[in-house]
Subunit: 488 residues, 2 copies
């Protein structure tokens, strides 16, 4: 086996077998040594097909005889085996792999060393009820998307194969600007929009453009763990500022770190508490930023769905001083593996963002951008949001009912007015992380609230996603949740 | 017009018009104010369609009467205009745009401020002869790729819509590992392969994982400008080490900066000089790295095509101490807008690279990875390389002939044994950048050699790409080049 799911693809790759006529070593011996070395070093693997002697002779521009001699010897010594009608292969049971062994000093970057351990994400294992940040991909209009992808494939032009601009595809930037102005109250022109590979790239990029190592930045406490990571990777200090029922407590932020260089907030639907930042807090935050010369990074990752109340305009639209960097993503409305998000950049900073983006990965890939543009143009995007709103609203209603039925007064729910998750504080819960770890055995993917705090969590509980939890799974999921909690 | 290429898409986006029953202000007045404000602020644009009164009433869950009253007033005051049979629209000639005006202190990161100005890349304007780094996308087997994309679209599964792993799609990593072992002599298992968005992301990621701000790193002089940018963005110091006919001069590097933390090299086909690093230099470099505790970042961006000599194995395969980070890309063999590349990471560092990658953009997008895997599996990848080699070899031959004919002894050519570009030094040339800037007027895209130096360029000349220069364009291109040079 080549280690590659049974397909004899390796034979088609050019082989690194070389000969040199200037050497005194005979050609057949050079070929023999070349194969033997590569087999011993496990560069060629047991079961991997070997080019025919005719093919190899042609490639090396030599006569076939030395190749035949070398093959005969490799067969005789058991490095090769031939199968009737199938050709010649590297023999099985060979190849003690010689690995490079780390030795000596191997210092890595301090900020890289300081990052928390990477763990294979739960969704890579399997999906289950209550997973956070997962939209209902089952309900995604796959036939439409698939049709647009096929249409793109049929119409592919040479121009679309070339490098693109660091800012992204102009047509998609136009479409997004129009959407953000109309639906999110964002002040923007297409020239300010940069297409990124999901909102995480936007967070990282904004950090690298705006903050120096050692800079302080406000983060919401509790907050989104990958904001903390992005700051740590850049050597910045995250200052946890408490979130209450009105969102980030600006007065407390000022007391904790008046001179912070930035604030990272999710005012539409905070993660994990789900709070919507009040109007007065929004103005306080903007006022502080202007006085402190600070930036506001507004992560509007989950703002498309609101259930009882009217839509709420983005903080960016209130900003008179070009201090807000607005971030959005298609991961939650479309599907996560699309990896498409966007940043709205103050006009005078567009060029600096582009320069940094070019260093990071040049430009976004073309195909997904082009298909997304068509999806918006043909109206499917707005239609999909409209169609999903009652679906999620219903899941949310059922989830709240079930939680109230099972947990009664011991549970306090928060942040259920929007988005695809809510927060549940549970009286008497001692170790939410332990419960979450245990719940995995029941295929229940809970996010412990305490894991979202940089400091100590004042209360324990869970973030419950209902985006990818079918209505029929909810009642049983909540009962299982109760069982897990009972064993705490 | 909505600013969006004539498509009335904006009407389908949910509008941010809100009412609040608790206010004393009548509902019709709230609606009127809401529209007026959004028009004055240019959030709604001239010509943009307005929802019908019936639709809006339904959305706001109010009766239709206040909506009709508000619309009547907006029409009367000229904010709206109605077109028979087409509906109601925002009137044209309105909307003084209120822009956020930058004011106060607005410090950005020092490393971001220090990056060179971002310029719209030449290929965004048009393509022309001699552009560097552009493969011949005209010869790309578009029908096959397009068929695989359509096939992917038809078979799309829900699992493919979810978030992926930071390392990339396992099947593609297997395919790449097999390719690199067989064709490039790279020692690797699939577990060491990370899929990235092109080689630039690999350069940036490796820099962030391995180097601290203030660290020194050897770079080739002359060398690839985006390596310089990546180092600058991370606050590192690039130490230019001269390249001669054997590649990077390791002894000089040691004299310049013995304790550098890393060396960035392109040993297969150096950019811009096109040199292949000699075996003895390779061993010197590995030995220095082991003694200094340094990393080697091997950029194998352009190694698939060699013309006269045998293929040369990657430096990584010679490394016994797990100090080489190997970087490759599909941009040159496939097409640039694919944005797919890969890193081979020493096993003990895989987890740190994954942790940093997660901060940067979570994971690569799914579709391109899946289609690329099929393209390799079905043998098209190896076939395409085989098919393109004689095409590029022929262009190279014609280019060399024409250059020799036109420039004779005044031109010295280098680096033509491999890849898709060669370097030409020109005796008597005074200002290669000026000539390159001028050549754009003749749709000739020259890269001035002096622009690849961090220090002063000892000789002037050009890097000439022949990847995307058709054979029929070459003779005329060279004559134009001579004309441009003559006016220097």
């Amino acid at each position: 086996m080549t280690g590659f799911s049974g397909i004899d693809m390796a034979t088609s790759f050019p082989n690194l077998i070389t000969v040199d006529r200037r050497l005194t070593k005979p050609l057949y011996r050079q070929i023999y040594d070349s194969f033997r070395t590569r087999i011993v070093r496990a560069e060629l693997r047991a079961g991997q097909p070997v080019p025919s002697s005719r093919e190899l002779a042609r490639e090396l521009r030599i006569s076939r005889l030395p190749v035949l001699n070398a093959y005969a010897q490799l067969l005789a010594e058991g490095y090769f085996e031939s199968r009737v009608g199938a050709g010649t292969f590297v023999a099985s049971g060979l190849g003690a792999e010689i690995r490079a062994t780390p030795s000596g000093e191997r210092p890595i970057a301090k900020h890289a060393a300081a990052l928390p351990k990477y763990e294979r994400p739960s969704w890579a294992a399997s999906l289950g009820p209550f997973q956070v940040g997962q939209p209902d991909v089952q309900s995604f209009p796959m036939e439409i998307w698939s049709r647009l992808v096929s249409q793109y494939a049929r119409r592919m032009r040479v121009k679309g194969l070339q490098y693109g601009e660091a800012m992204g595809l102009p047509e998609l930037r136009e479409a997004i600007a129009s959407y953000l102005r109309t639906s999110r109250g964002v002040h923007c022109e297409a020239a300010q929009i940069m297409i990124v590979n999901g909102s995480q790239q936007a967070l990282d990029l904004a950090t690298r453009v705006l903050l120096d190592a050692g800079s302080s930045a406000w983060v919401e406490e509790p907050g989104y763990w990958l904001v903390h990571h992005a700051l740590r990777a850049a050597g910045c200090r995250a200052v946890p500022v408490p979130v209450d029922a009105e969102g980030l407590d600006v007065a407390k932020g000022i007391r904790l770190s008046r001179k912070a260089r930035a604030a990272f907030v999710a005012p539409s639907h905070q993660y994990p508490l789900g709070v919507t930042m009040s109007a007065s807090r929004r103005f306080q935050l903007l006022e502080w930023a202007q006085r402190a010369g600070a930036w506001i990074i507004e992560d509007d990752y989950d703002s498309e769905y609101r259930y009882d109340s009217m839509p709420i305009a983005a903080l960016q639209g209130l900003d008179g001083n070009a201090r807000v960097i607005y971030i959005g993503t298609f991961s939650k409305v479309m599907f996560p593996s699309l990896r498409l998000g966007y940043i709205v950049i103050p006009p005078d900073l567009v060029e600096r963002f582009a320069a940094m983006r070019q260093c990071i990965d040049l430009c976004p890939s073309h195909a997904n951008q082009a298909v997304m543009t068509e999806f918006i143009r043909e109206g499917h995007f707005a239609r999909h949001i409209r169609r999903m709103r009652p679906v999620y609203a219903q899941r949310r209603r059922v989830l709240i009912e079930e939680l109230q039925r099972e947990f009664g007064d011991s549970a306090e729910l928060a942040g259920d007015a929007a988005g695809m998750h809510l927060a549940m504080f549970l009286r008497g819960l001692r170790n939410d992380r332990k419960v979450a770890a245990k719940a995995v055995e029941h295929s229940l993917w809970l996010s412990a609230l305490s894991a979202s705090y940089i400091g100590n969590a004042p209360r324990q509980g869970f973030v419950l996603g209902f985006g990818n939890t079918r209505e029929s799974q909810i009642a049983n999921g909540v009962r299982l949740l109760k069982k897990c909690v009972a064993s705490d």
